[in-house]
Symmetry: C2
Subunit: 394 residues, 2 copies
């Protein structure tokens, strides 16, 4: 059936709501003037609760990957021992950036589709001779597999086994969509990106740093200039960024936070939970096997396995022809999975629409489905997730 | 007098034409899909002639400063000898990034307001014992002083004295507004930024690299990941960027290049020359002394000295109240100069408007001016610059 706009269901960039699109069209202003200073202050103030921190948040003009690099190079020195807990392509990348800058990285590889095991992390920390690891790298939400790590449990295990170790968290595709308590959980650096939960175009990475991280910066010797968080702290004191910011994206994030304030954090978290539940239920009802351990299924992206015998390229062509844009697999999962993004501006209607298109394409490709059953399952799961229904007896 | 939009006359970000603002409001697309690939290809193809190169142009999501860092860390190794030719705050910054990453930098400092002297550069190269400098850093257009270096002459001197030395050029605020011949002049790395001549929001740095620079990358050991140009080259072959690009700014640059194609390079260069001439003539007619050596006056930004006895803060308040937004001085020129940007979307009308407001404010602050004389001088200089008038006999 015809449609007039694609349903962009990749795990970022996400679709932009109308007022955020309009913000992207605003005329430029002086980024060294009072209007910008007020906006920067507003963005930081409204963003901090989503990090769960009272620390300042630096607004870097770069992709999430640049934010991950900033998290590492500001607090580490070449030769530092680092434990890279990786459960997918982005965990691997986080570890790789650290080793590129000379850190001595041991990777704790988790099977793709699984979450990190606190006991395994604890054991890895215990095995390391004194003085232990300087830092542990965690991925909050692994975009490549649709797994969300149990960060509070992992952080508690790390803090218990290695109280002074820095905990650096990639929450590029998690923060803002689900609860996070950086200060309460004892996290040292957290990174997120404008094109994920913040409903804006890509171009900004936001990085918050604990007091322990600030202290680490004083002695860290990895070279950094563009991504130097000390330059950001100094400029922030004057209501500026050290280098010319991606101004139009700041406009958008500012507007996004306005929308988020109206919706409330509780409303945003419930919407993400409902859309995630709907995506999982709909995909399962269509006969797709999900990749992620259901106990740690991501609330922002769901990965499903490409069934044996299904020609993914042809199937995806049928989806695209109907205006549904999904993401394929990354790294070693290329061709083996597909991913449905449900973060940022996502609505339940968009998930129902996606499941409906997947059903249409399934019928076209001869997969056995019962017409309407998957969208019914998706709708039901969403309502159940937000407590609008009594749970179905198993 | 009232107005309905400010006249943003800072040297970037520049005002965005309507169609570029509209491009900033476009909905997101999949940055790993064919639509993005086509756009990336189009942007690169249309941008290369402004670099004067047949080499590929990497589109980095960062500020110009990030582009300068990329220019350095991709081709240099810690300990490399580097000659940093600096004529202002941005030349200093370029040199500082190099030393931050461990280069052994000798700075050839030029008095702020002057251009680099080819003979002095040649002498500095001759003084260096074998194997000589690995790289020379040049600023094309020094935004902090309004001086434009004679790059072809400097590059010829360097190539003559040190044929294998890498020549890295910061043309963040120059490229696209004035002619540039990277290949013809033997330049190895050239950097520009979206918010300057390209009439777009900040967020992208564009970097072109010669064959000699690509060869240097094979042995360069400065650490880099986010800014690694090899990752960009590999991704570009697939019509992608390695990390999520600042997509809305790519939309804008794409639209900007469409406007530039309609105007033609010759038209753009003439417009910049005319606006620069108008700014200089208007400011002089108002009794302001210009900072830059007139032989090397920038075509994209003009710096004027704050006259003795004039309270700059109060004067600037009068300008702002009339909607004219200028830039102050940077670094050691803070409080001593002000700067008028005339690049990107600038029109002669906007310069006349700026000169008119400066006249009004001058009258308010008791400076002696003849009503209308400065805008007349500006208009006349512009027409003369584009050859519409016979030059006035001296």
């Amino acid at each position: 059936m015809n449609r007039f706009e694609p349903n962009l269901r990749i795990p970022g960039p996400t679709g932009l709501p109308p007022s955020i699109r309009a913000a992207g069209a605003r005329q430029m202003i002086n980024h060294r003037g009072p209007e910008f200073a007020a906006m920067l202050e507003r963005v930081m103030t409204r963003m901090k609760p989503y990090f769960g921190t009272t620390s300042d948040v630096a607004i870097l003009s770069c992709a999430g990957t640049g934010g991950l690099e900033a998290a590492l190079v500001n607090v580490l020195s070449p030769g530092d021992r680092v434990l890279g807990v990786s459960m997918g392509a982005f965990g691997d990348r986080f570890a790789k950036i650290a080793s590129t800058y000379g850190a001595n990285v041991t990777k704790l590889a988790v099977e793709w589709g699984e979450a990190a095991d606190p006991a395994a992390v604890r054991a890895a920390l215990a095995e390391e001779p004194a003085p232990g690891y300087r830092a542990v790298l965690l991925t909050h939400n692994e975009t490549s597999t649709g797994v969300m790590n149990p960060i509070p449990v992992l952080a508690a295990a790390i803090r218990d086994a290695a109280p002074d170790t820095l905990i650096l968290v990639d929450s590029v595709s998690g923060l803002g969509a689900v609860p996070f308590e950086m200060d309460g959980w004892g996290i040292d650096v957290v990174v997120t990106g404008s094109q994920k939960a913040w409903m804006s175009a890509p171009g900004l990475a936001m990085v918050a740093t604990s007091e322990r991280a600030w202290a680490a910066m004083e002695t860290a010797t990895m070279p950094r200039f563009y991504l130097d968080l000390r330059a950001h702290r100094d400029a922030q004191a004057k209501g500026q960024t050290p280098w010319t910011p991606a101004l139009a994206v700041v406009y958008q994030v500012d507007e996004g936070l306005e929308l988020m304030e109206l919706e409330t954090a509780a409303g945003i978290f419930a919407r993400h939970e409902a859309c995630a539940a709907a995506a999982r239920a709909g995909l399962k009802a269509l006969g797709f096997e999900l990749l992620a351990d259901p106990r740690f299924a991501s609330r922002t992206v769901t990965a499903a396995k490409v069934p044996e015998g299904l020609d993914w390229k042809a199937f995806n062509g049928s989806l695209k022809a109907r205006g549904l844009v999904l993401a394929g697999g990354q790294g070693k999962l290329t061709g083996l999975i597909f991913r449905v993004g449900h973060l940022g501006s996502v609505t339940l209607g968009e998930i129902l629409d996606a499941i409906g298109v997947l059903e249409e394409a399934s019928i076209e490709h001869g997969r056995p489905v019962e017409a309407g059953a998957a969208v019914a399952a998706a709708q039901r799961a969403a309502l159940e997730a937000i407590g609008a229904l009594a749970p179905v007896e198993a």
